[in-house]
């Protein structure tokens, strides 16, 4: 944190020096950004810089300012249609669209922010050129400047396009959705017909209240607990299962290792939306598994011991809480184990053989070797990816959504908040937006999910980035 503040201080101090010590050309660059280059003979660069500046002002004045001006209220004029009986046409008033205002506003602010950064760094560059000129150093021509773009400053060339993509696909949408969490954008406030506006922290409050009408607090706590249980169980069952399967297949006594491995890998190769939808149909209330179970009398047996209520003629594999939770975890083992097996195979092959052999000579049993050598080695290597897969499972949309596509909740509290007993935060969020247009609550849930993931990741990742492991192998 201190380092960050110092960096910030230095950043502005340099800018201050540039303005204070700059000559007429440098100071002129405060207003006309290209002046500093033009005055030192870099005419083309100067013109380009000035064009960028003009472009920015034109963009802000013509496109984003109208939106930004209304950002405080998100629009005041509601859409009204007036039917004119004389001309038989509908006229629509000049209405405000809250959604566009918010989106345009966010983009406008980002552009201003980017321009400020460019403006400050421009001043510094101009000042540097001034001092170079004063010291009689060589000033790059345009051609030479362009050459640095494939050499010393190649990273600029490389990162520009990908950063632009990330800006459009990740940064703008995330900022936008964070803003939505503080508005009342829901089914009753949908642009363009209606306006929505800022409501402060009301949505966050709603997430933690539970009354008879608002059940978000009640549901949120339960969905959160199930999300965490799911993430941990799903990660560890597939992890352990994958390692055991890999060990089993790679044992020297197994004949035809490759064939076995391929058999399991086929299941990864089929897209999840096909296999999961198929499995959800197999285990459906009137699906083939239920057909077989009632034929062999399993349904009746489970009714007798009380696992299936008497009123049902089928086993509710994916349609009742409890049953569905267990089934989801089991089916996830089916989905995840081959994948983990594939990874574990690669790592197991690299375990230093001398360790295993010396352990065997010392009389360690297979079981001891597994727990004392194989597992620590595996954990050492896959530790970071284990954390990543817990995060990935918190956000595991496919398995839950595709399996419980036809699940209908009977709990009124859940139904009130448009959730189901088997929902993860992420599927709940999706249902809220896609089916119920409840964007405000979805955003709040999204932010909460982010915080959970961030906390888990920060505890582990900071070590990974800050550790200077990356140059170890170069």
């Amino acid at each position: 944190m201190k380092k960050f503040l110092n960096g910030l201080k230095k950043y502005f101090a340099e800018f201050g020096t540039s303005v204070a010590r700059g000559d007429i050309w440098t100071r002129l660059s405060l207003v006309i950004m290209g002046a500093g280059y033009a005055g030192r003979g870099q005419l083309v660069k100067g013109i380009l810089m000035t064009l960028v500046e003009c472009g920015f002002f034109a963009f802000t004045a013509l496109f984003s300012w109208p939106y930004m001006a209304k950002l405080g209220t998100l629009g005041t004029v509601q859409r009204e249609e007036v039917f004119d009986p004389l001309t038989m046409t509908k006229t629509v008033n000049d209405y405000d669209n809250s959604l566009l205002i918010l989106l345009g506003g966010v983009i406008g602010i980002l552009v201003i922010f980017a321009f400020l950064l460019l403006w400050i760094s421009n001043m510094k560059t101009v000042y540097r050129i001034q001092t170079m000129k004063e010291n009689g150093e060589h000033i790059n021509s345009l051609r030479e400047d362009l050459r640095t773009l494939i050499n010393d400053r190649f990273h600029v060339t490389l990162l520009t396009l990908p950063s632009l993509g990330v800006l459009i696909i990740n940064i703008i949408p995330i900022l936008f959705m964070i803003c939505i969490a503080f508005t009342n954008y829901d089914m009753n406030h949908q642009p363009p017909t209606y306006l929505f506006t800022w409501v402060g922290l009301a949505n966050f409050k709603a997430l933690f209240t539970s009354t008879t009408t608002i059940t978000f607090g009640y549901v949120f706590a339960r969905v959160l607990v199930w999300t965490l249980i799911w993430a941990v169980l799903a990660t560890f069952t597939t992890y352990i299962g994958g390692i055991l399967l890999a060990k089993f297949i790679n044992n020297e006594k197994t004949i035809g290792k490759k064939v076995w491995r391929t058999l399991f890998i086929i299941t990864i190769a089929i897209p999840q939306f096909v296999t999961l939808l198929l499995i959800s149909k197999m285990f459906g209330d009137y699906g083939i598994v239920n057909g077989l179970c009632s034929k062999i009398g399993l349904t009746g047996f489970l009714q007798d011991i009380g696992l299936v209520s008497k009123g049902l003629s089928y086993i509710p594999f994916l349609s009742k809480p409890g049953w569905a939770h267990v089934m989801i975890i089991l089916i996830n083992i089916w989905v995840g184990v081959p994948y983990q097996m594939l990874i574990a195979t690669g790592i197991l092959m690299n375990i230093p053989n001398d360790q295993l052999e010396s352990a065997r000579i010392d009389g360690a049993s297979e079981f001891q070797i597994f727990w004392k050598i194989t597992m620590p080695y595996m954990l050492f290597i896959t530790g970071p990816s284990l954390i990543t897969s817990v995060i990935a499972n918190i956000n595991n949309f496919n398995v839950i959504y595709l399996l419980t596509n036809s699940y209908v909740t009977t709990n009124m509290a859940y139904a009130n908040s448009n959730a189901k007993e088997v929902d993860l935060l992420i599927t709940w969020l999706f249902t809220l937006t896609n089916d119920y247009s409840n964007f405000k609550m979805a955003s709040v849930i999204g932010i909460v999910t982010f915080i959970i993931c961030a906390v888990i990741t920060l505890l582990s990742y900071t070590r990974m980035i800050s550790g200077n492991k990356e140059e170890e192998f170069q």
Binding site: I150, N151, F154, H155, L158, L159, L161, S163, V166, I168, I169, N170, I171, P173, I174, F176, M177, F248, K253, L263, I266, T267, A269, I270, P271, Q272, F273, V274, T275, L277, L278, K281, M282, I288, N290, G291, W334, L342, I343, G346, I347, I381, P384, S385, N395, F397, N398, L425, L429, F430, N434, F439, G446, F450, T457, Y461, E470, E471, F473, Q474
Partner: protein, 280 residues
């Protein structure tokens, strides 16, 4: 004697496991060959066999199932994403792995933080952003959605680049090569496994994804859909009765090219993941 028994038990257990894992796949294949269009809840194997589902899939597109169009759309998206994503990933990885510049660490931390936001959260907003640019509901829009953010997935590839000996780059520099030359002439030829991994992964991504396409494509005309949306739609309550085995046939057709790619990728996959995981 005891050894033989053990050996047999080992293989029986393996066979049993493989059987469990393959049941849904077998069901998929046999149902796709069924003459009965709806779900058969009493028989695992169909009573009457027929290839009609495949014929219907390819030659008789109707208002609900237009597989040739879906396949074409998914193919275009897959190939475009494959090219753009691979380029982005390689470019970002080279910049972060082989070059040293001032804001490098900050950018890397920032990208990891960005990756922690749940994708589903920003999906709706992405839809609005693309709508603002007039790109929603189009194949170009989907290509942007799948590939524009791909620069963030550089970790595994960067891990691979980190293992390429630095002396190679240094000696090239002494000979007067620019960074661009080093990137295209030294690093890329040395990174074949990771490039194959990235290419296949980014090609498969749009084939496997379902949520994003569902949100982005609001068009009601089946000709505009991708394979994932189209097949999902066949299982809606009003269609499942007459299209279930067609869905299975579609699943088989999609799975074949992907399986082939997977078998090719298997080796690289393991190398890529483990390599990337160790060196983060």
């Amino acid at each position: 004697m005891k050894k033989t028994v053990k050996l047999i038990i080992r293989h029986v257990v393996l066979a049993l496991l493989a059987f469990i894992w393959l049941i849904p796949i077998i069901w998929l294949v046999v149902t796709s060959l069924s003459a009965n269009k709806s779900i058969d809840t009493t028989h695992f194997f169909p009573e009457h066999w027929s290839l009609d589902n495949y014929a219907q899939l390819f030659f008789r597109p109707d208002t609900a199932a237009n597989f040739p169009a879906w396949f074409k759309n998914s193919m275009i998206i897959g190939i475009a994403c494959c090219i753009i994503s691979t380029m982005f990933v390689l470019m970002v990885s080279y910049a972060f792995s082989c070059m040293r510049f001032r804001s490098r660490k900050a950018l890397m931390s920032f990208s990891i933080i960005l990756g922690m936001f749940p994708g589903v959260l920003s999906m709706i907003a992405i839809y609005f952003v693309l709508k603002l640019f007039g790109l929603s509901d189009s194949i170009a829009g989907l290509i942007i959605v799948y590939s524009a953010g791909s620069g963030l997935g550089y970790l595994i590839c960067k891990g691979f680049f980190d293992t390429i000996s630095v002396s190679l780059r240094e000696s090239a520099k002494l000979e007067g090569a620019s960074e661009f030359t080093i990137f295209t002439r030294i690093i890329i030829p040395l990174s074949k496994p990771i490039i194959v991994y990235t290419v296949i992964n980014s090609f498969l991504n749009p084939w496997m994804d379902f949520v994003m396409a569902r949100l982005m494509i609001k068009s009601k005309s089946p000709a505009d859909w991708t394979v994932a949306i189209g097949l999902f739609n066949l299982l809606q309550r009003n269609l499942i009765g007459s299209y279930f085995s067609v869905f299975c046939a579609g699943g088989v057709i999609v799975a074949i090219p992907i399986s082939v790619l997977f078998v090719i990728m298997q080796k690289f996959y393991v190398e890529g993941i483990t390599g990337g995981a160790v060196k983060g």
